[in-house]
C-alpha cells in the first residue's frame, strides 16, 4: 500500500515535468550510469543478475524472475520502476547503503520508458556531425560562424548577446598572454592604444602566432598532457636522459604548425613514419615518441614483470585521456564500469606497449650519413662479388648441442635487429674495411659495428625473445663498447645495478697490442648472463658502440649450463682471421668504400635521444583482475574496440603504426573532439566539455555539441592548430566582456576575469623587468633548490634564482624537487595527463610574490635597470613600468601614488646603497604583488 502511494506521488511529479521532453543523454543515461552501472553496466564480471542497463538488449531482456527491467512504452510492466521506488530496503534498488533515486530521477526514467526507451550511443562515441552555423536573431553581434554557434546557445535560453566588449588594452593583454604567454611589448601597447582597429588586432595576432613564443606557450599546454618531467621520481629521482629534446620537439612542432594528425601520429609512432627533417636532425619525427616514456619509474623492482605492467598502465592512462578523452586505464582490472571500454582494450594497448621498447637511440644530424653508409655497404658487397665470395652456410650449434637453444645467430647480419646510428650498417657484408683502408675477409653472419670503421657510433638491438633457459651465452669480441640484456624492458640497471647486476657490461678498452690488431684478428670470447630470476620473462640484447670502440656478436645461445658450449659448437665456418683477398680488379670498389667511410667520418655526429622502437610482435593476454600472473584470452594488440574492430587485423610489429593511423583518421571523432575542446578551454578558461580528459560517462557532456563538432570537423579536415586558434581569437566571442547574469549551464558565457597560470606569471615578471632571455630551446636550466627542497637525488648543484632569465618552460622539471613557486600557482604535478589545471586562490601565492627570492631578485634587476635611465623623469619611468606590468598607461592618481612611493622609498634607503635602484626595485616588487599583474581582465 505504501509502495503504491509512493508511485502515485511520483506520477504526479512526472506529469509536472512532462512539459519538457525527456532527453536520454541529458536526463536518463547519467542516472543509469551513476546509480546502476556499477552492478548492471558494461563490466561483465561485476554484473549482477545478468542485467545491464548500458544496452537496449540487456535492459529489455527477460530476467530469471520472468520480469523485464524495462518494457519499452510500458512503465507499469517495467520492473526497474517498481524496484527503485520500493520501500522495503531488501527490495529497493540501488540496494541498502546507497542513496535511493530521487523523485525527479525516477520521473525521468519513467518518461523515457513511456516514450519508448530508446538507447542512443553516448555522445562521445558518435561520429562527428558537421552542421552549418545556426541562424541567430541578433545578426549584428556575430563576426563568424563560431559566434553564431555560441550566440545560439544563449538565445535558446532566452538570453541576448553579451552587452559589451572588453576595452582594447584588456583585449591586447588577453590575446598576448593567450597566444604567447608573455605580455605585449611597450611598442605594441602604444601602437594599439593609438589605433585599436580590427586590422591592427589581426596583425598583432598574426605576429604573435608567428613568434617562437607561441610554441613555448602552446607547447607547454601539450607538456601538461604528456606529464612532462625530466626525472623519474622514486628513491633517487634519476634523470630521464634527453627529455628536454622532447620539450624542444613539441615547441618546434607548434611553431612550425605541424598538421595535428601528423603531430599526434608522431607521438604514437614517429619512429615508424616517413622521416621529417627538423631541429637539425635528418629525421625529428622519432622524438615525438618520448611521449610514451615520460612517466616515473623505479630501480630494483623485486617483481620486474609487475613493474613493467605498472609502467605500461601509466602510459595507457596518458594515451587514453590525452588523445581520446577516454579513461582506458580504468579497464585494467575489469571492463570499464561506466564506458563501453572492455578490459580487452586495455590489454590491446598493453600488447602494443610490451612490443615497444624505450631506447636511448642515435639520431643523425647529417642528412648525408644514411646515404653514405648505404653506399659504403654496396661498395663492400661489390668488392666481395669481384673477389668471388659468397655467403657461407653454417651449421647450427643447436644441432650439435642437446639442451641448447639458439636465440639468435645474426646469420643474416642481424637483419631482424634494430639499428641506430651508422656503425652497424654494414653488418653481414662478407668483407670489412680495415683502418688502413685495405679490405679483409669478415666473419660471415655477424652483427658488427666495425665492418666499415671503428670510429662510427651506433646501437643494435635483437628482437625480443622469451627466457626459456637459465643462462644466455653471447659469443662476441670487441672493445670500449656495451653489451646488455634487458628484461621486460627494464632499463634502470644503467642507473642502479641492484638485482640486475651484470646485465649491462662494458667491453674493456683495448691495450696497445690489441689496438694494433685488426678487429678480424681478435679472438672470440663468450659473455654469459645468468637469468635465474627471470624465467618466462621477455628479454632482448642491446649493443652500443659510442665511437672509438667496436663490438661484434656472432651468436647467442641459451642453456641451463653455466659453462658456455665448446667453441667448435658455436661455428663451423672457420673463416675467422685476417686474409687480404683483394685482387686488383676490386680496387675501384675498395676506393669507393674508403671514400664513403672517410666522408662518413666527416659527417656531424648523431645525437642521443629517447625514443620508442618496435621490439617484437606478440599479443598480450588479458590479465585477470589486473594481475600480471593470471592470464585470460589473448587480445590482438593495438586493436581498440571502439576505434576499429577488425576480424583479421593483420597488425605488424607493436601495432603502433596502425594505432596512429586509426587515432588520427578523419573518420574517428575522438582525437578531433579532444583537441578542439582543449584549444577552446585554453582560450576561454572553460571547455565546451568541462572534463577535457574524460569524455566518458563520469565526465561532463558538451554544453554545445554542435559547436564542438564544428571545431572538431575543421581539425579533422586538416585545419592546423594555428588556423583554429587564430579563428577563435578573432571572434566576437573572444572579446566579449563577462556577463553579470546567472546563465544556465547550456548557455555560453564570455571569459571571466582569470588568473594567469604559473609560467605566465614568472615569465611576465622576467619580461616586464627586461630580464627575459628569449633564447629558444636547448638543455634545461638547472632547477633552483631551496632549503625546503630536500631528499635523496637532490642535485648537487642548484640553479640560478632567476633561471638565467629563461622562460619557465626551459627550467628543469624534477619530479622530487618541483619548483615551489610554480606549485603555488598550480603547475600540475607531472603524474599523468592534466588537461585542466586547478586555479586555486590561496595565501601561499601572495607569500610567494611577497617573500620569494625570485620576486625580490627580478624586482632588484628591474630597479637597477630603471635607475640607470637617469635621463628619464620618474613619471616617464613609471609610465613604462605600468605598460610593462599592465599593458596600459597609468591613470593620474596612479602616477601620483607611484611618484610619492618613490620619494618615500628613496628617503628610507640607508647608507651608501643606490637610492634610485632601491626605490625602483621596491616599486617593481609592489607591482608584482598587485592583483592586476596576475589577473587578466
Amino acid at each position: 500500500m505504501r509502495c503504491r502511494l509512493a508511485i502515485a506521488l511520483l506520477s504526479a511529479s512526472t506529469a509536472a515535468d512532462a512539459a519538457h521532453a525527456v532527453d536520454f543523454d541529458r536526463d536518463v543515461r547519467p542516472v543509469l550510469a551513476a546509480r546502476c552501472f556499477s552492478c548492471h553496466g558494461p563490466d561483465a564480471d561485476a554484473r549482477k543478475a545478468g542485467l545491464r542497463f548500458d544496452t537496449f538488449e540487456g535492459a529489455t531482456a527477460v530476467l530469471k524472475s520472468g520480469n523485464r527491467a524495462i518494457v519499452p512504452g510500458d512503465p507499469g510492466s517495467s520492473e526497474i520502476l517498481r524496484r527503485v521506488a520500493a520501500r522495503a530496503l531488501d527490495d529497493r534498488m540501488p540496494p541498502e547503503g546507497h542513496e535511493p533515486l530521487t523523485a525527479a530521477e525516477i520521473a525521468a526514467v519513467r518518461a523515457w520508458i513511456d516514450a519508448g526507451a530508446e538507447f542512443t550511443a553516448p555522445w562521445a562515441f558518435r561520429s562527428l556531425e558537421a552542421t552549418v552555423a545556426p541562424s541567430v536573431r541578433d545578426g549584428a553581434w556575430p563576426r563568424s560562424d563560431i559566434d553564431r554557434f555560441v550566440l545560439a546557445t544563449r538565445e535558446a535560453s532566452g538570453l541576448a548577446a553579451p552587452a559589451r566588449d572588453i576595452d582594447p588594452a584588456a583585449l591586447l593583454r588577453r590575446a598576448s598572454f593567450d597566444l604567447t604567454g608573455l605580455p605585449p611589448s611597450e611598442s605594441d601597447v602604444r601602437a594599439f592604444a593609438a589605433d585599436p582597429s580590427d586590422a591592427n588586432f589581426a596583425a598583432f595576432v598574426d605576429r604573435a602566432l608567428a613568434s617562437p613564443a607561441f610554441g613555448e606557450r602552446w607547447g607547454r599546454h601539450w607538456l601538461d598532457l604528456a606529464r612532462y618531467a625530466e626525472t623519474l621520481a622514486h628513491e633517487f629521482d634519476y634523470e630521464i636522459p634527453e627529455a628536454w629534446r622532447y620539450r624542444d620537439y613539441v615547441i618546434d612542432a607548434f611553431n612550425r604548425d605541424l598538421p595535428p594528425a601528423r603531430f599526434v601520429a608522431e607521438q604514437i609512432a614517429g619512429d615508424l613514419l616517413e622521416p621529417r627533417s627538423a631541429l637539425g636532425l635528418a629525421n625529428a619525427a622519432p622524438l615525438g615518441t618520448a611521449y610514451w616514456f615520460l612517466g616515473p619509474a623505479t630501480h630494483a623492482p623485486v617483481d620486474v614483470r609487475l613493474d613493467e605492467a605498472d609502467r605500461i598502465a601509466g602510459s595507457i592512462d596518458v594515451v587514453g585521456r590525452s588523445l581520446l578523452g577516454m579513461t582506458i586505464a580504468c579497464a585494467r582490472c575489469h571492463d570499464h564500469k561506466f564506458d563501453p571500454i572492455p578490459a580487452r582494450d586495455f590489454y590491446a594497448l598493453a600488447g602494443t606497449l610490451r612490443n615497444t621498447r624505450r631506447v636511448e637511440t642515435f639520431l643523425d644530424t647529417d642528412a648525408r650519413a644514411a646515404t653514405l653508409a648505404a653506399e659504403a655497404r654496396t661498395a663492400l658487397e661489390d668488392a666481395a662479388a669481384v673477389a668471388g665470395l659468397s655467403q657461407q652456410i653454417r651449421s647450427l650449434a643447436s644441432d650439435a648441442a642437446p639442451g641448447m637453444v639458439r636465440v639468435d645467430d645474426a646469420a643474416d647480419g642481424g637483419a631482424a635487429w634494430s639499428r641506430a646510428g651508422q656503425a652497424f650498417g654494414a653488418s653481414g657484408a662478407l668483407l670489412a674495411c680495415a683502418a688502413d683502408g685495405t679490405l679483409r675477409l669478415a666473419e660471415s653472419g655477424t652483427i658488427d659495428s666495425a665492418r666499415l670503421d671503428t670510429q662510427l657510433v651506433g646501437s643494435a638491438r635483437s628482437p625480443a625473445f622469451g627466457v626459456s633457459k637459465r643462462f644466455l651465452h653471447v659469443r662476441l669480441r670487441g672493445a670500449s663498447s656495451w653489451v646488455r640484456v634487458l628484461i621486460d624492458n627494464y632499463w634502470l640497471d644503467a642507473n642502479n645495478g641492484l638485482l640486475f647486476e651484470g646485465m649491462r657490461r662494458r667491453l674493456g678498452d683495448a691495450d696497445a697490442a690489441q689496438a694494433a690488431r685488426d678487429p678480424r684478428e681478435w679472438d672470440w670470447r663468450v659473455e654469459t648472463f645468468d637469468l635465474l630470476r627471470f624465467p618466462g620473462e621477455r628479454a632482448y640484447l642491446e649493443l652500443v658502440d659510442e665511437g672509438g670502440g667496436w663490438v661484434e656478436v656472432d651468436a647467442v645461445l641459451a642453456s641451463d649450463e653455466a659453462q658456455p658450449p665448446a667453441s667448435e659448437l658455436w661455428d663451423v665456418d672457420g673463416t675467422a682471421g685476417a686474409v687480404d683477398l683483394i685482387a686488383p680488379a676490386a680496387e675501384s670498389a675498395r676506393a669507393k668504400v674508403v671514400a664513403a667511410r672517410d666522408a662518413l667520418r666527416g659527417c656531424t655526429p648523431p645525437i642521443r635521444a629517447l625514443v620508442a622502437e618496435d621490439s617484437g610482435g606478440f599479443d598480450e593476454p588479458v590479465h585477470l583482475r589486473g594481475s600480471p600472473r593470471a592470464y585470460g584470452d589473448l587480445v590482438p594488440r593495438g586493436e581498440l574496440s571502439f576505434l576499429a574492430p577488425r576480424a583479421n587485423p593483420g597488425i605488424v610489429g607493436s601495432g603502433r603504426l596502425r594505432l596512429a593511423a586509426e587515432v588520427t583518421s578523419p573518420d574517428q571523432p575522438y582525437l578531433w573532439r579532444t583537441l578542439a575542446n582543449r584549444i577552446w578551454l585554453k582560450l576561454f578558461g572553460r571547455g565546451i566539455v568541462e572534463t577535457p580528459d574524460d569524455f566518458g560517462q563520469l565526465g561532463a557532456a558538451p554544453w554545445s555539441q554542435a559547436l564542438l563538432d564544428h571545431l572538431a570537423t575543421k581539425l579533422a579536415r586538416g585545419a592546423t592548430f594555428k588556423e583554429l586558434i587564430r579563428e577563435i581569437v578573432l571572434t566576437r566571442a573572444y572579446r566579449a566582456a563577462a556577463d553579470d547574469d546567472s546563465l544556465p549551464p547550456a548557455a555560453w558565457s564570455p571569459l571571466a576575469v582569470r588568473r594567469l597560470d604559473a609560467e605566465a606569471i614568472r615569465d611576465a615578471m622576467l619580461a616586464a623587468s627586461g630580464r627575459l632571455d628569449a633564447t629558444v630551446g636547448g638543455p634545461s636550466v638547472a632547477a633552483r633548490l631551496t632549503e625546503h627542497m630536500q631528499g635523496r637525488g637532490r642535485p648537487g648543484h642548484s640553479g640560478p634564482v632567476d633561471g638565467a632569465g629563461r622562460r619557465s618552460v626551459y627550467i628543469a622539471v624534477r619530479r622530487n624537487f618541483l619548483d615551489p613557486f610554480m606549485q603555488a600557482f598550480d603547475q600540475p604535478v607531472p603524474a599523468t595527463t592534466c588537461g585542466k589545471r586547478h586555479t586555486s586562490n590561496v595565501p601561499a601565492q601572495a607569500l610567494a610574490l611577497l617573500n620569494s627570492e625570485l620576486a625580490h631578485e627580478i624586482a632588484a634587476f628591474w630597479g637597477k635597470r630603471l635607475a640607470a635611465q637617469s635621463e628619464r623623469s620618474d613619471d616617464a619611468r613609471i609610465e613604462s613600468m605600468w605598460i610593462a606590468a599592465f599593458a596600459r598607461a597609468p591613470r593620474a592618481d596612479e602616477r601620483a601614488a607611484a611618484s610619492e612611493f618613490l620619494v618615500s622609498e628613496r628617503a628610507a634607503v640607508q647608507g651608501d646603497a643606490d637610492r634610485d635602484a632601491a626605490a625602483y626595485a621596491a616599486l617593481a616588487h609592489t607591482l608584482f604583488s598587485t592583483k592586476e599583474f596576475v589577473f587578466l581582465r
Partner: protein, 480 residues
C-alpha cells in the same frame, strides 16, 4: 564587487566563492567536514564546488574521535621482531637456515635466521611486550594499540612509501594528509592543513610522498623545518616597515582593480594577500619553542646528549603546538642519524639503536604531554613505516625489507590503548592472524577522524578517487 558568481562559473574561471558567500550557500551548522583551511578558507569556486560535493557526502559522517593526526613516519622500516613483536623461535633457530620458504628480497642476499639482539619485556597493566630499544615508549604501553599484522604490497622503499602515504604504489597521488586537509579542512586560518616536520630525512620517494596530487594544490604538505626558516616564503626578506609601505600601495592599486573588475576572484585574492601577512606573524610564534617550560623541554629531551634526540624532541614539541593550533595532519620525518634511516641491511644492532634512541624519549614525551593537556583523546598518533624487516639475516648482521608482516601502532584519538591486534607467524615473517593492508590503516585513521573512507572522494581521470582506492576495511579491534 558583490555580484555573486553564477553557478555555471563553478567550473569555469576562478570566480571564487568568498568565505562569506560559501558559508551562506552551504547553510549553517557544518561542523567537522569544514571548508579547507588556511590554504583554502577562501577557496576558488571550482575547488569549493568539489568541496561542497564532499560535504553532501559527509552528511552521514561518523562521530569524530580525533581532530588531528600526528603521523610518526619511521623511515626505512624498523624491524617488527626487534621492537613490538617478540619471537622466541628466532632464538631457537638463530644462525640456522631459515625454515620457511622466503620470497624474493630486495637485495637477494639472504642469510640465516637472526634472533633479536634485544630483550623483550612486558609493560603496564596491559602487559604489552616492548623490546629494550624503547624504554621510554614502554612507559606509555597502556596507550598503544599495536597492530602486529600489517602488510604492504611492495618490497621497494619507494613503491611502498607511495602506498603508505597515498594508498597507491606510484608517485603523484594525494597524500593521506592532503586527503584529510581536503576532507576535513582546517581549524586555523593562519596555518596550512597538512604540515610535514622535516627532521633531516625526506622519505624515499621524495616530496611526492606529501603531494596534493590531483587535489587542489593548497592541500599539499607544507614542509616545516625545526630550525632556520620554518616554512618557505613565510618570512619577509625586508624590514617590516618597508613591507608596510608596499602593502599600502598594493592595497590602493588593488582596490581600484577590484572595483573595476567586480570579480570575486580578485576580491578573494586580495583577502588572501591580507591573510598572508597574518601568516607571516603566526609562523614565527608557532615555531618558537622558547616559551616552553624547562620541565617540558626536559620531558622531550631538548638537552639530550644525542643531537638526533634533540632534533626529534623539537619535532614532537612542534607537532603538539600545531595540534593546539588546529592543524589537521602533521607528519614527522626521522632525523638523519649516523646510521641513516631504519634501513639496516647490515649492522642491525648499531643502526636500530641509534634510530631508536633518537625517537624513543621524544615520542613518549609527546604522548604524555598531549595526555596531560587533554589533547591525546582528540589526537591520533600513528607510528608506522612502509614495511618491516626479514627475520632472517641479510648478509650476516642485517635484515632485508619485509612487506609480508610488520608492526604499526596507534595511540590516542579513539584508538584502543593497551591492545595487540593480529599476529605474524612464529618467526615474525608473515602476518597470519588478521592480516591488514595499508588501506585498512588508512580506513581506520579516517574512521577515527569521523570520515567514511568510501565516501571521501574526488573525481579525477574518470573515477571517484579515494585514499583507499577500492579497498580498505576499518580495523574494528583498534577502535577504543
Amino acid at each position: 564587487m558583490t555580484h555573486h558568481p553564477s553557478h555555471h562559473c563553478g567550473r569555469f574561471q576562478p570566480a571564487p566563492l568568498t568565505r562569506r558567500a560559501a558559508l551562506r550557500s552551504i547553510g549553517g551548522g557544518f561542523g567537522a567536514l569544514a571548508f579547507a583551511g588556511l590554504f583554502g578558507r577562501t577557496a576558488s569556486a571550482d575547488d569549493a564546488a568539489a568541496m561542497l560535493g564532499e560535504r553532501a557526502l559527509g552528511a552521514n559522517h561518523l562521530p569524530a574521535r580525533a581532530r588531528s593526526v600526528i603521523f610518526l613516519y619511521m623511515d626505512g622500516g624498523p624491524s617488527q621482531v626487534d621492537t613490538f613483536d617478540p619471537k622466541p623461535k628466532l632464538i631457537e633457530y638463530n644462525g640456522k637456515p631459515f625454515p620457511l620458504k622466503a620470497a624474493p628480497t630486495q637485495f637477494n642476499n639472504n642469510g640465516n635466521t637472526l634472533a633479536s639482539p634485544w630483550k623483550f619485556r612486558q609493560y603496564g597493566e596491559s602487559g604489552l611486550w616492548v623490546s629494550d630499544l624503547f624504554p621510554h615508549i614502554a612507559g606509555v604501553a597502556d596507550d598503544l594499540c599495536v597492530i602486529r599484522s600489517m602488510t604492504s604490497d611492495f618490497s621497494e622503499h619507494t613503491n611502498a612509501n607511495y602506498l603508505l602515504h597515498t594508498g597507491a604504489g606510484i608517485p603523484g597521488r594525494p597524500s593521506m594528509g592532503a586527503w584529510c586537509s581536503y576532507g576535513l579542512g582546517d581549524e586555523n586560518d593562519n596555518l596550512p592543513g597538512f604540515v610535514v616536520i622535516e627532521g633531516g630525512l625526506i622519505p624515499p620517494g621524495g616530496l611526492d610522498c606529501f603531494t596534493a596530487g590531483f587535489l587542489p594544490a593548497r592541500h599539499q604538505g607544507s614542509v616545516m623545518r625545526p630550525q632556520g626558516q620554518a616554512i618557505a616564503d613565510a618570512t619577509p626578506r625586508e624590514a617590516l616597515d618597508a613591507q608596510a609601505r608596499k602593502r599600502q600601495l598594493i592595497a590602493r592599486l588593488d582596490s581600484a582593480f577590484a572595483h573595476e573588475t567586480e570579480s570575486e576572484a580578485v576580491e578573494s585574492a586580495i583577502k588572501n594577500h591580507e591573510l598572508a601577512y597574518r601568516m607571516q606573524a603566526a609562523v614565527p610564534e608557532l615555531a618558537s619553542l622558547d616559551g616552553e617550560s624547562k620541565e617540558t623541554k626536559d620531558l622531550y629531551g631538548f638537552e639530550s646528549p644525542d643531537p638526533h634526540t634533540r632534533t626529534f624532541a623539537r619535532e614532537c614539541c612542534l607537532a603538539r603546538r600545531l595540534v593546539e593550533r588546529g592543524v589537521r595532519f602533521i607528519e614527522l620525518t626521522c632525523p638523519r642519524t649516523m646510521h641513516d634511516r631504519w634501513d639496516q641491511h647490515s649492522d642491525l644492532k648499531a643502526g636500530h639503536e641509534s634510530n631508536a634512541h633518537a625517537v624513543d624519549q621524544p615520542i613518549a614525551a609527546l604522548i604524555r604531554d598531549l595526555k596531560r593537556r587533554g589533547l591525546l583523546e582528540s589526537t591520533l598518533v600513528v607510528w608506522s613505516a612502509e614495511f618491516g624487516r626479514t627475520p632472517f639475516a641479510q648478509g650476516s648482521n642485517g635484515r632485508d625489507h619485509n612487506p609480508f608482516g610488520f608492526t604499526a601502532w596507534m595511540a590516542g584519538g579513539g584508538a584502543k590503548g593497551g591492545t595487540v591486534i593480529g599476529a605474524t607467524d612464529e618467526f615474525g615473517y608473515r602476518a597470519v592472524e588478521s592480516p591488514y593492508r595499508i588501506h585498512d590503516l588508512h580506513a581506520t585513521m579516517l574512521h577515527l577522524m569521523g570520515v567514511d573512507h568510501r565516501r571521501l572522494t574526488f573525481r579525477f581521470g574518470g573515477r571517484d578517487m579515494r585514499l583507499t582506492d577500492v579497498h580498505g576495511n576499518v580495523i574494528a579491534g583498534a577502535i577504543g
